[in-house]
Every structure is written in structure tokens, then in C-alpha cells.
Symmetry: C2
């Protein structure tokens, strides 16, 4: 295994369809193992300073992942049950990200070079600014994206692109996929003449805390739960030398359906919602988790009927791992039992022949005045909550209670009067990193204009984890004053 | 007074030349006062969304400061003893900053707009990204720049430019200057049709902690001491909703003199060093506080003699306030008494007729092998430490012990062999935000290529507090997906 840990407890790889342990592809890393991984990574900083070689690394990594596609898909599916179609798409996104960052590095525009030449008249010195890597990046793999947000994912790609070596805390939900990808990336590094240690992995809960606290760790990228992420955020801030903690800690992704929208296309909205919140078994960061619908009948009945019918037809399927399944079932049951909550579709276990651990989606509804605080916490998995609002005073009252979120969406009618529209949008805008109009937040694209990150807890820094702008998470500006050309980085020479 | 606090203890304005209390221009703010100030500021967010009006505000603020120049200079000098020449320059820099940010706002390039149009072929949605203000900015005025880093300074200018209302925690060293400038800025706001509360002030130590903890405070800018800054940093990170803390907490600004440089121009370097570290009585963030000089004689003698002679001729002058004076005298005496330290010029009180509290600079020297940890802490005021190094192993050993710093400088000879030069620069680069070659760090310029901020503790985030890039401290990206033109911010329309 690439993590080279020899003494810790074996890390199991579990089949989420059955709960059976498949293998033990790694060992948990103790403090000495973490130290070895971070120190080895730090030693590669100088080698990574070679910009063309970094671009070559990212291309070689993408090629290596493509070449191993069958093995990657089989391993990832065995560990996550996400299925071949979804994982094929995710692998394509992952290699696309790596190649995008390769072009970003080669282009050099991300360095935001500024050159202010000396002005002998005013005595102004020669000043030239570029950007320099922060140091070793600690990356926490996400459970729900075993490729695109894990070992070979966006945080790793953007950090390597910036010139930062990476140590990944692998995710316990897909340790074998993590090790497989790490081997491929380390091999790609060696093939382009870089040390394999530009990327390392560690496994185990305690390894994550040691990684954040290691003196040579210079920044952290995290995608995961509010509780775990907040604890690591606090550790990063409490270090003798605090470091940036770029965390995505959960998102409710509220949706507002206007009265006119419901009146004109209730069934379409209900069906669209069901498709969105059950996509990938509701295991997307952008799953719509709270949907404000107008209480006026008969539109409400039509919308709820369409959503319930469509969600009930979604095939039962396992969740990412048995722990997430337990949390989903317990969390959904707790919410369903809150006062005032109406269960439109009961969440629960739904064993199938090949997946005894499969579950079915749930759909809850509640009046705005009965909205319990616990319904404002994200419930990971195929569950959403319809909040029935009665009038224009309900809406702002509910929106004022919402935490920061990755996305906020609104479904409206073409003839919606701007006098009603703009105030609502003004209330949604401060909540979210992406405002979605007449579409569902899970329908998205990885393009330069994409913003993935919103006010806390959706993100802990005002940055994006998706798209090439993510490279700025791992850089700091540095200015050279009056430096002779042979002492300047290449991009700062005339 | 503009802070409208009615009940707290009166805040004294003290004459740093004599220690006499001049006036009580404000009162300390309690929690309710801070709440009132932040809430009033937050109510101006919508008004500040008007970009042309923000540009007008920044121009009007600069004009108002210019028009009140005599009163500002007299008040600031009475409170800081910085003198008319220095304060005239600082006021010019302050109004220049305000006008630069006015142009930045009007130009709009800082919004980094990206538009990716819909692609019906792939189903890609229309995505348009801009930047949006974080909310109320808390700005901590700096003791050593009563204008350029205080109420009307760079943090305030960049935050207002970004569209963030500002509440300034005024500095106890110049409360009257702070209130005067606040009145001028609030008047400027009203003249351009904005609420005066786009800028407020609070006074008192406790007010600072309440300000950082207020739920509506969205980001903090701080320039000051390591101890105070770290405490506020920790409060910002520990909030239920953590917020960015952009702090500048001190800087040692190491300088390395190569053997060849000392051999060829020892006297010039010694004289230049004295001018740099005594400039403004050593009260610059960029004061060279640790100077590595080759121990080889006779060059060392010539360099030290020149530095001592020049520093001894610097006129005795008061420091910014009596507390800073006490800290300087105690800190300098402590360092002078450390084992192995040689006192080349004894720091101490040097009363003059018009300034009984004046002090004179100090100059210390120590062998690299005797370098005590306490000499690696910044001593605010006109003191620097020469560290005599013997060979190529001393240098990296000392540099490895240095904390992050705003600047790192090297004095070298024109014929320095690159084989010796590049490894040294490679060791300096990770320490600093600005690398200075054959010049002193206090000689600088406010231009787009300037970087003011370095690794912790020189800065707590990888950003700059000087130059128009500082606007990014107060913004977060936001993307509009499939929004009709009438719902888009102006800059995102076709």
C-alpha cells in the first residue's frame, strides 16, 4: 500500500450493499506515520516548483486514471454502490479537472503577475508580484465523491497545480479506491520525473487530527460533516501557527416555489423536485433539503402528489456506507416524528436481492409555523422537507432562520412581477454561493463561472472548491523588490 | 462625538511628548453600544450596494480629509508626536488610497466577472459569477498609522469599496484623530446620499472583543500586536459562525548582509541600516529588527561603527504613546541584558525641552551561536539586533528559527556568484511576503504590485492589507444560474 503504514489497526473496506467486509487495503496511521508522510511530502516542494513539470504531472495523472478505468470503477462501485454510470461520469469529471488544472498551470495567468517598474523620478523601487505555494496541503477525502472530491479530486488537483505537495486523509468509506488512485498518481509523478511523495495518504480518524496539527501542514481542504469539519477547523485555528482551513461542512440548499409557479406548473415542479433530491440517493452536497411551497390548494395538492408519486418510484438502493445508512434512517425517523410533520412518503429500509441494506426515500411536509429547528439541519440521504407557507410574512421569517448554504433556488412564473421577485431574491442572495432560477441545484456544470462554496457552514472561507479558481486556496502573494533578473522567478522577468 | 456612546468611561487623549491628558474625546463602548453601532452599520448594506455611489463616497471622503488637513495634522501630531512632515505624507497616502479604491469600484474589474452562457447541446446552464460583500467589517485602528491604517485607512477604504459598512475600533493612542476622521467620513457619506452609518466607531478594549463576536460582524481587519491580535483571531475562529480575520500581528523583517557586500560597502550598509531602523522612531511594521552580518573583520567593525555613529546622531524623540514607550524601554533593556549581547548603543530615555518622554535608539549585537529566542520577538521602537554569523552553516540555522515576516532583505555585491545567492534566497522566500534586494524594507511604495502581508504572524490570511488587491478581503464569490436579465446584478447582464 502507498501509505506505508506498518503498525496501525487494519482499515476495512466494506460492501455497502451487504455490510460485509471486503478487504483491509490499508492501516491506520499513528502520529509517527503522519509525520513521515508530511515530512516526505514537504521534501518535494522544491521539485514541484518546476511549473511545466507540474502540468505534465496533472496530465499524466489523468492519463493514468483513464488507463485504469475498469479497475477504478469496479473498486469504487464495490465500496460505494454508486453504480457504473455515475462513477463513469465522476471519473470523467475527475480527469477533466486534472487536465483543466494542467492548462491553468501552463498558462500561468493564475499567478496574477503585476510588474511596477522603478521610477527614478519619484524614487519608486522596482516591484514585481507573483504567487507562491503555501506548503504541504492536507486534503480530506469526501465520502460521497470517491474520485472527484477524494484522493485524485479537486482539492488534490488544485493544490498540486499550485505547487503544494498533498497528503490525503483517505475516507473510510472507500479506502481501497483511495489507495488505488494514490498508487496511480504516485506512479504518474515518477513517470514525469517528480518524486512519488508529491502525494501521500493516511488513514484513520486520529490521523486526520495529527495531519491538521503537523507543523509542516500549511493549509487544509475538507469536504464532510459539520461536526467533524468544525472540530478540524478549530484545531487549524488553534495551532501555534494557524493555517487556512477550506471546509465544506454541509448545505441545506433551500428552494422557494412562488405561488404563481405552483399555480401554473405544480406537477412539473413536484416531479422535478423528486428527481433532484433522490439523485444519487440524495448524497449530493447540493441536494434540495428544504422546499418552501405555497400552502394554497389545489396547487399544493398537485405538487405534493406529483413529488410523492415520483419519489415513490425511485428504485430502492444502498447508501454510501452502513454508518451513513444508520444516520439517514435515524435522522429521517426523528424528523418524521417531530410535532406537526406530515409524512408524505415514509423513509425506511427497503432490502433488495442484491442489496439487503438498500433504503427508500422519504418526503415530509410541515406548516411554516411548525418548522422545528431540527428540520434546518441537513439530513444526508434521500429525504427532503416541504415547508408550506401561507403568505408573504411566512417566507422572510423562514429564510431568516436558515444557515449559509451552497445554493438557494427559486421557481417562479414567467410573468412574476419584479416588485415581488426582487425582495425575495435579496433575501436569498446573502445565504448562498449560487442562486438558481427555475432549475434544481443538483443540475450544474464545472465551468469557470461556477461557485461551489457559500456562507458558513456551506464553506469556512470565501473561496470555491470547484473550478480552476480553487487554485487560489493554496497560494500566497509574494513581491520581489529591486531583484536582479537572475534572482527572479521566470514569470517575473521582463 | 460620532460614536454616540453616552455611558462608558471617558477615553483620554494623551500627549506622548509629556504624558499629559489633553482631552476626553470619546467614551468607552459597552456591549449595547457595540450592538447599536454594528446594527446601524448593517442597515446601510443595501444603500452601499450602489456601486457608483460608493465610488462617490470614497472621492468625497478623500476631499473632506484634504479640506480638513490643518486640523487633522494638528490633532494627529498632538496625539502621536509623529510630526508634520510624516503626517502630511501619511494623509496624502490616505487620500490616495481612498481615490484608488474609488477608481477600483468604478472600474469593476475587481468583481472578476465570469459569464459561461448556456449550451443547449450539453444541457449546460447559464452561469454568471460576480462578487458580493461579506457584510459589516470590523476594523481595528493601528497605533502607528493614525490615518493610513486607522479610521480612514486602507482597511476602511477597501471594505467600503467592496460594499461593506465599517465599524472601527478606534485606537487609544489617537482617539481624537479617530473621531475627527469619522465625522468627516460620515459627513462625506451624507453628502453623496448615503447614510452616515456606513461608518461608525467604538472605543475601549472590551468593545473590540464585543465587535469581533457580534453576530452581524462578517469580517475583521486588524493591525497591531501579536498578543492582542492572536486573542481576537481566536475569538473570530471560535464564533458560532466563524469569520475571516485579516490580521497583521508583527514582523521581524530580517536582513542578510553577504560577506562580499560587507567587504565592499560596510559603511554604506551601516549608515543605511541606521536610517532605516530609526525612521519614525522605529515604529514601522517594516523596521529591520534582525540583521545578519558577517563576523569577518575589519568589515564587521566598519559596518558596526557606521551604524552606531549614524544611529547615535538620530534625534531623540517621543514614541507614539507612554505605554509603547514603557514597552520599548523595558523590552530593549531586557534584550540588552541577555547573555552574549553586546550593547553598541544604549537605548534609554533622552528627555528634551519639548518632549520629556523622548527616547534614543539602541543597537545590540550578538554572535549567531548566542542568539536568544527573545531576540526573535519584535521590539517595537528604535532598536535592532546585529547577529554576527561566521560561516555558511550559521546562516541557515538562524533563518530556520525565524517566524513569518512581512519582508526579508538581502544586501549583496554585484558580482555575487549565483551558486551562493540562490540557496540563500530560497531560504528567505518562504519566510516573507516581500523580498528586498540591496535596499531597506522601510523604503517602499503603494503600487499594484506591492504585497503587505506574509506568513504568520506577519499576517493571519494570505492576503495584502496595502494596495487595491485588499478589496478581496471583504468579498465572496456568488454565481447566478439561469437568471433572467432583470434579476441579474448590472455587471452580469449581457
Amino acid at each position: 500500500m502507498t501509505d506505508r503504514t506498518r503498525t496501525g489497526a487494519p482499515v476495512p473496506s466494506t460492501d455497502p450493499r451487504t455490510g460485509a467486509v471486503r478487504a483491509h487495503p490499508a492501516r491506520e496511521a499513528g502520529p509517527a506515520d503522519v509525520d513521515r508522510a508530511v515530512t516526505a511530502a514537504a521534501r518535494t516542494l522544491d521539485a514541484l516548483a518546476d511549473r511545466p513539470r507540474r502540468a505534465a504531472l496533472l496530465h499524466a495523472a489523468a492519463d493514468a486514471l483513464d488507463a485504469a478505468r475498469p479497475e477504478i470503477l469496479a473498486t469504487a462501485d464495490a465500496e460505494t454502490a454508486l453504480g457504473e454510470a455515475r462513477l463513469t461520469g465522476e471519473l470523467a469529471r475527475t480527469t477533466h479537472q486534472l487536465r483543466s488544472f494542467a492548462r491553468t498551470v501552463a498558462d500561468g495567468g493564475y499567478l496574477e503577475v503585476r510588474i511596477d517598474r522603478a521610477d527614478p523620478a519619484t524614487g519608486r523601487p522596482d516591484l514585481r508580484r507573483t504567487k507562491t505555494p503555501l506548503g504541504v496541503a492536507a486534503v480530506f477525502a469526501a465520502g460521497n465523491f470517491p474520485l472527484a472530491f477524494s484522493v485524485p479530486g479537486g482539492d488534490t488537483a488544485s493544490a498540486l497545480a499550485a505547487g503544494c505537495p498533498v497528503v490525503v486523509k483517505a475516507h473510510p468509506g472507500h479506502p481501497e479506491t483511495g489507495e488505488l488512485c494514490a498508487r496511480l498518481l504516485r506512479g504518474a509523478a515518477e513517470r514525469v520525473g517528480l518524486p512519488a511523495d508529491v502525494l501521500g495518504t493516511v488513514h484513520g480518524f486520529a490521523a486526520g487530527t495529527h495531519l491538521v496539527q503537523h507543523p509542516l501542514t500549511a493549509a487544509v481542504g475538507f469536504t464532510g460533516s459539520l461536526r467533524g469539519g468544525r472540530a478540524l477547523h478549530d484545531l487549524a485555528a488553534a495551532r501555534p501557527r494557524p493555517i487556512p482551513f477550506h471546509g465544506e461542512l454541509g448545505s441545506l440548499n433551500p428552494v422557494v416555489v412562488t405561488e404563481r409557479a405552483a399555480a401554473t406548473r405544480a406537477a412539473e415542479i413536484g416531479t422535478g423536485l423528486a428527481a433532484s433530491y433522490t439523485l444519487g440517493q440524495g448524497q449530493y452536497c447540493t441536494k434540495p433539503g428544504l422546499v418552501l411551497v405555497p400552502a394554497a390548494r389545489p396547487a399544493l395538492d398537485a405538487l405534493e402528489r406529483a413529488a410523492t408519486t415520483a419519489a415513490a418510484q425511485a428504485p430502492a438502493a444502498p447508501l454510501l456506507d452502513p454508518r451513513i445508512r444508520e444516520n439517514y434512517l435515524a435522522g429521517a425517523a426523528h424528523r418524521a416524528a417531530l410535532p406537526g410533520v406530515e409524512v408524505l412518503l415514509a423513509p425506511g429500509p427497503a432490502p433488495t436481492a442484491d442489496a439487503p441494506l438498500a433504503v427508500r426515500p422519504g418526503l415530509l411536509a410541515v406548516a411554516a409555523e411548525d418548522l422545528h429547528d431540527d428540520l434546518l439541519d441537513e439530513c444526508f440521504g434521500p429525504l427532503t422537507v416541504l415547508v408550506r407557507y401561507h403568505d408573504d410574512t411566512d417566507l422572510p421569517a423562514v429564510l431568516a432562520r436558515l444557515p449559509g448554504t451552497l445554493t438557494a433556488a427559486r421557481h417562479h412564473a414567467p410573468d412574476e412581477p419584479p416588485a415581488r421577485t426582487l425582495p425575495l431574491l435579496a433575501r436569498l442572495a446573502p445565504l448562498a454561493g449560487r442562486l438558481v432560477l427555475n432549475a434544481w441545484p443538483t443540475a450544474t456544470a464545472v465551468t469557470p463561472a461556477m461557485q461551489h462554496g457559500g456562507p458558513y457552514p456551506a464553506a469556512t472561507t470565501p473561496t470555491t472548491s470547484v473550478g480552476t479558481s480553487a487554485i487560489h486556496r493554496w497560494l500566497r502573494p509574494v513581491t520581489y523588490q529591486d531583484a536582479p533578473p537572475d534572482l527572479l522567478p521566470a514569470e517575473l522577468r521582463d
